[in-house]
């Protein structure tokens, strides 16, 4: 069991009170698993992924626990977390294109970062070169400034750098959303290759694009309004979703071959609830065609068939 998250609650502090951005997800991530974390804006997916590595100034840890390879991860303690960052838990940020110091040569920056974490640069240099070549980069890039590289090249450097210490868990935060269709496939497949070569043990791929994670993930976890809706193997989520939200969401997404003239799709009416003072019970209730009285109580996130978890009273 690589990652175990239990009842994690992280809120955003605002003037008008706490925004319940992440309200108690409990799930596990197996060794070698690539999990797609999907959801719309405000679903809590990026709050969850950020919480696993670094809470920013406005985020407040409220409760719950995170365990990685059997060790408790103190996500509430910024200083203690430094021990885990990079070495155990690492991230490929959404802003990869601007993640490197613009006035430092890339190689110098990497060396300084590694040395500051107590890793002799010499000991990883060869592996670094190997991995840069693996992602199709010349080792010459280490002698360049970030501005001399194209966006795609910068992103690949960041992918290699983030995983150079073979972390146990990698968070890939919307890594493909800024890319063009023709390049996002290469990047997504590179993530799988990183896992296959055991550069990382397991991976959370955060995205708003379910069709993309379907291509590479082993499992997909869908979030809605700060809570988990459903987690299942990728194919199951697409072909046999149980949660009404997942079902409606998937049937609202067009893919090549579906046309307005032949098969009109429909969206989900309404909009997600505000999280400043979230409604009691199931948070999808107001938009759910199946909602009934029992939905006023919060549905537990339970395993309905092996590896298929759903938080819905109607999911039998």
């Amino acid at each position: 069991m690589s990652l175990k998250v239990s009842d994690l609650r992280v809120y955003y502090r605002t003037l008008r009170g706490d925004v319940h951005a992440l309200d108690g997800p409990t799930f596990t991530l197996a060794d070698g698993e690539i999990m797609g974390l999907a959801g719309e804006s405000g679903s809590g997916k990026s709050t969850l992924s950020k919480s696993l590595i670094r809470l920013d100034g406005r985020m407040r840890y409220v409760g719950g626990s995170v365990e990685l390879d059997g060790t408790e991860v103190p996500i509430w303690d910024d200083a203690a977390m430094n021990r885990f960052r990079f070495k155990e838990i690492s991230i490929i940020p959404q802003y990869s294109m601007s993640a490197m110091n613009p006035t430092r040569k890339i190689g110098v920056m990497i060396a300084e970062l590694l040395e500051s974490r107590g890793v002799r640069f010499k000991t990883v240099r060869e592996e670094l070169h190997r991995r840069l070549e693996l992602v199709g980069l010349d080792t010459e890039v280490l002698k360049r400034y970030p501005i001399e590289l194209s966006g795609g090249m910068k992103q690949r450097v960041v992918m290699v750098l983030s995983t150079i210490l073979d972390p146990s868990l990698l968070i890939a935060d919307e890594v493909t959303s800024a890319l063009d269709v023709s390049t996002q496939r290469a990047v997504a497949e590179m993530l799988v290759e990183f896992r296959d070569r055991r550069f990382v043990k397991s991976m959370v791929v955060v995205t708003h694009d379910i069709s993309l994670v379907y291509q590479i993930a082993d499992s997909i976890m869908v979030m809605y309004a700060g809570r988990l809706a459903e987690k299942a193997p990728a194919r199951t989520i697409i072909e046999a979703p149980r949660h009404p939200y997942t079902r409606m969401l998937i049937s609202a997404l067009p893919e090549v071959g579906v046309t307005y003239a032949e098969q009109r799709l429909t969206g989900i009416p309404g909009s997600p609830p505000g999280l400043l003072d979230p409604p009691k019970g199931c948070r999808f209730r107001a938009r759910c065609p199946l909602a009934s009285d029992e939905c006023a109580t919060e549905p537990p996130f339970v395993e309905v068939t092996p590896d298929h978890h759903v938080a819905c009273w109607k999911a039998e």
């Binding site: 719309e40 804006s41 063009d180 269709v181 023709s182 996002q184 496939r185 997504a188 497949e189 708003h208 694009d209 379910i210 069709s211 993309l212 379907y214 291509q215 697409i238 072909e239 409606m248 969401l249 998937i250 609202a252 997404l253 067009p254 893919e255 090549v256 071959g257 579906v258 046309t259 307005y260 009109r264 799709l265 429909t266 969206g267 989900i268 909009s271």
Partner: protein
């Protein structure tokens, strides 16, 4: 008919325009009323520039854009431009950036009234606004008097479409209008374009998303690095793609029920089975011309070297 006749856009960059950058090269296509044309391309393809030129926000460097026969670059002066905007309107990608954050969202209606319907009495105007809101399926009660940040992205985009409808337009340029909306609501805004088409509007739907273009359009235009590489009836372009770039896009777009490898294998198999003689192949090394070749009835492709893979 909104017609692009060998339209080019060249930007002068650098100090005093010392360098030139071609954003669009001799684009040639048209948008008819009652039809949705999907203009599909990746970032930097020049697709948005084409939309901006049609809206007279960017000037045309070469070629002409005509609206029902009138060259739109000849529309000088505020009055003639306003007449043009009565017939052609646009909606843009970012719903939040489309609203001035210091004003209420329904100011976009007030702006139209101030410029076009100054003399319309209040009651009549209100009826007109309500009718437009109804078309885009918005509840006036929930919308009017709110600030942009109090509304959702989907509501804001619908509001902008309603604004365009107030002007009784013939053509709408929709530039990536749903790419920033949430997955669960975006399809409804897209369906709205289908409804407008049924009412006789001509729509230029600019997008980077093949699935969306495929879903809503009648005609498809694929642009790559400023040039149109393929265009034709949507079912032709998607069903029988000719240009290597189009094929590459189709094999890269993530699908739901097929993995990338499956799609790629299918395309390859079809290509192998295809024995038609191509008379639009170029000798290797020759620069492809901007003029497209009509490979099939109403299906145009930019000539490319035989055996070429995508050049992206």
């Amino acid at each position: 008919m909104l017609r692009f006749d060998r339209v080019s856009k060249v930007y002068n960059v650098g100090s005093f325009g010392s360098d030139r950058l071609t954003a669009v090269r001799e684009a040639d296509f048209e948008v008819r009323r009652g039809e949705v044309v999907a203009l599909i391309g990746e970032s930097g393809s020049g697709k948005s520039t084409l939309g901006k030129m049609a809206l007279r926000i960017a000037s045309v460097s070469q070629g002409t854009i005509t609206c029902d026969g009138t060259d739109i670059s000849t529309l000088r002066g505020n009055r003639r431009l306003k007449d043009y905007y009565r017939r052609v309107q646009g909606v843009f990608q970012d719903p939040f950036s489309s609203y001035n954050p210091v004003f209420k969202a329904d100011r976009v209606f007030a702006m139209v009234r101030g410029e076009y319907y100054r003399d319309v009495p209040d009651a009549q105007w209100r009826a007109k606004v309500h009718a437009a809101l109804e078309t885009v399926r918005l509840d006036p009660q929930q919308i009017l008097g709110k600030y942009p940040h109090q509304l959702s992205g989907g509501q804001l985009q619908r509001l902008l479409i309603a604004r365009a409808l107030l002007l009784d337009i013939d053509y709408l340029v929709a530039d990536e209008i749903i790419s920033m909306l949430d997955a669960s609501t975006r399809i409804d805004v897209l369906n709205l374009l289908g409804d407008l088409k049924a009412r006789g509007l001509g729509i230029l739907f600019i997008t980077h998303d093949l699935a969306l273009g495929n879903y809503i359009s009648d005609e498809t235009v694929i642009v790559h690095k400023g040039s149109i590489v393929e265009r034709g009836r949507t079912e032709k372009v998607f069903g029988d793609p000719l240009h290597p770039y189009t094929k590459k896009l189709l094999s890269s777009v993530p699908q739901f029920h097929k993995k990338w490898e499956e799609v790629e294998a299918e395309l390859k198999a079809r290509e192998a089975a295809d024995t038609r003689i191509r008379d639009y192949h170029l000798p290797v090394g020759q620069e492809p011309p901007a003029q497209l070749f009509e490979a099939d009835e109403g299906h145009f492709v930019q000539p490319f070297p035989h055996g070429a893979r995508a050049s992206a």
